[in-house]
Amino acid sequence: MSGRDAIAPLIPFYANGTLDETERSRVEAHLAGCESCRALLAHALAFGETAPDALEEHVQSQLLLEYLEARETLEPDAVRRIEGHLGSCEVCRDALAIVKELPGERAEAPGRSPGVLAGLWELLAGSVLRPAPALAYLLLLLLAYPAYRFLAPGGPEAPASVLGVTATLRGETVFRADPGEPAPPAASLTRPPDGAPLLLELATDIDAGDLRDTDATFLVELTHGERTLIEQPRRGADFDDGATLRVVIYPDRLEPDTDYTLSIRFHKPGDPLDGRVLFRHAFRLVDQAATRSPAAARP
């Protein structure tokens, strides 16, 4: 046994002054040349400074947090004692409850975060990259994907329109959507020079019986990216006899040369089509000069 291995077990008893004279001299001779043992002695002395009773008024706060967040790293004895204390200490229970309610640290940080990728990595490392959650996520994805393909309203693989719709502006057809066909390119609508509203008439092939369904709602939406400019719920009674719906668009709210999407979403609780986009078409407003037809430009 080396000098250090032989001396280190004596240090706690050197610190409490119970070694005999011979052992005490050996320890002191060793300490003079061993920094590691001096550090150990410092700890032993520190532990002797305070009676254990004084160290147990409450669960130490850092330990309480570790109990909350990393219980598995604690000694089973420590967990049992903490739980025993929590059972009898209302103040500690309340403190723990407050900490539990605090939002996560990502939510608190003002200004910039360390980085989106770093944050994403932290998130993944704490969830899907662990084996058990990863399997659960995988299973969920396997189950969810077929359901998404068939049920997702307006999903990427859903047809652009369920309905056939012909849109006219002042009697002229400006675009047409055929059921089941992929989304056509954005149509160009001419911006009226006087800023007058555009009255778009959408002639649909909705069955008259469906339009009489008083539980059904047809939500007309005009969107640009994530921004919604118009969101108007319509009932079947708002369509005229030819299943035509009129939509007013105020061109001063729209930017030129920007794609907007007009859509009709169906809502009826319990119906298989509930939430489904029935019709969708993109358009953009262009100034009159840009769309003048060759015929109109001729003298």
């Binding site: 280190a8 077990p9 240090i11 706690p12 008893f13 050197y14 610190a15 409490n16 002054g17 119970t18 070694l19 300490l31 001096r38 550090a39 150990l40 002695l41 410092a42 700890h43 032993a44 002395l45 520190a46 532990f47 002797g48 400074e49 305070t50 009676a51 254990p52 004084a54 160290l55 147990e56 669960v59 130490q60 706060s61 850092q62 330990l63 309480l64 947090l65 604690l74 000694e75 089973p76 004895d77 420590a78 103040v91 500690c92 309340d94 403190a95 407050i98 900490v99 309610e101 605090l102 939002p103 640290e105 939510a107 608190e108 940080a109 003002p110 200004g111 910039r112 360390p114 980085g115």
Partner: protein
């Protein structure tokens, strides 16, 4: 065009380009905070306020609590006790939360017993810095003691609490003095390991002799 104000004017030749560099990464915030940089300090203050002001603590003086946490963080960082085991942000949140718990409990206790204000003690009392240090040492010892397994705590009580010799402890536990020494040594090492996790690093000051 001349440049009257030393600000960044894109596209104007001859103008100096001044960029206000905010600390962005964890280590930049840590370095700036330790150096007393205002931007870094605001960052850390934001984190701390997120704990102190958002929670249902009902602090009588939330600003004072924020200050206490910031000062504690500064003390830890400047003394080199934060050694990067977790990100500085995680560490700051942790310190903010357990300091809030400590103050919350003190406040609840104070409210419960209506303790009168202690008069300022005359000169032999330790100054504010020493009192803080003493309190932190006590917290550290509590943390270590409460994390130890039962057999180590029993030994702690015998050896450090009652000051018994190895022979006496052995007699009480029914084991040899040599066995007592080995077990006590192992517990001391375990306690040292636990101490390194306290507030990001050991607080107990090595180097002192009997």
């Amino acid at each position: 065009m001349s440049c009257a104000i030393p600000l960044r004017l894109p596209g104007v030749p001859g103008c100096p380009t001044i960029r206000v560099v905010e600390p962005a990464t964890d280590s930049e915030i840590l370095d700036g905070f330790a150096a007393g940089d205002g931007g870094a300090f605001r960052h850390v203050q934001g984190w701390v306020e997120g704990v102190v002001r958002v929670g249902r603590w009902n602090f009588e003086d939330p600003e004072g609590v924020v200050q206490e946490v910031l000062l504690k963080l500064l003390r830890i960082v400047r003394s080199g006790r934060y050694r990067g085991q977790s990100s500085f942000k995680t560490f700051a949140f942790s310190v903010a939360r357990h300091t809030s718990i400590d103050i919350y409990r003190r406040q609840r206790l104070h409210t419960k017993i209506h303790a009168p204000e202690q008069p300022e003690a005359p000169s032999p009392e330790p100054d504010a810095g020493e009192r803080v240090e003493q309190r932190e040492r006590l917290e550290c010892l509590s943390y270590i003691f409460q994390r130890l397994p039962d057999d180590c705590r029993r030994l702690w009580s015998f050896v450090y609490g009652e000051g018994l010799s190895a022979a006496e402890v052995g007699r009480r536990l029914g084991i040899t003095p040599g066995n007592v020494r080995v077990r006590t040594h192992r517990c001391l090492q375990k306690a040292r390991d636990i101490a390194t996790g306290f507030h990001g690093g050991p607080l107990l000051n090595p180097g002192a002799g009997p």
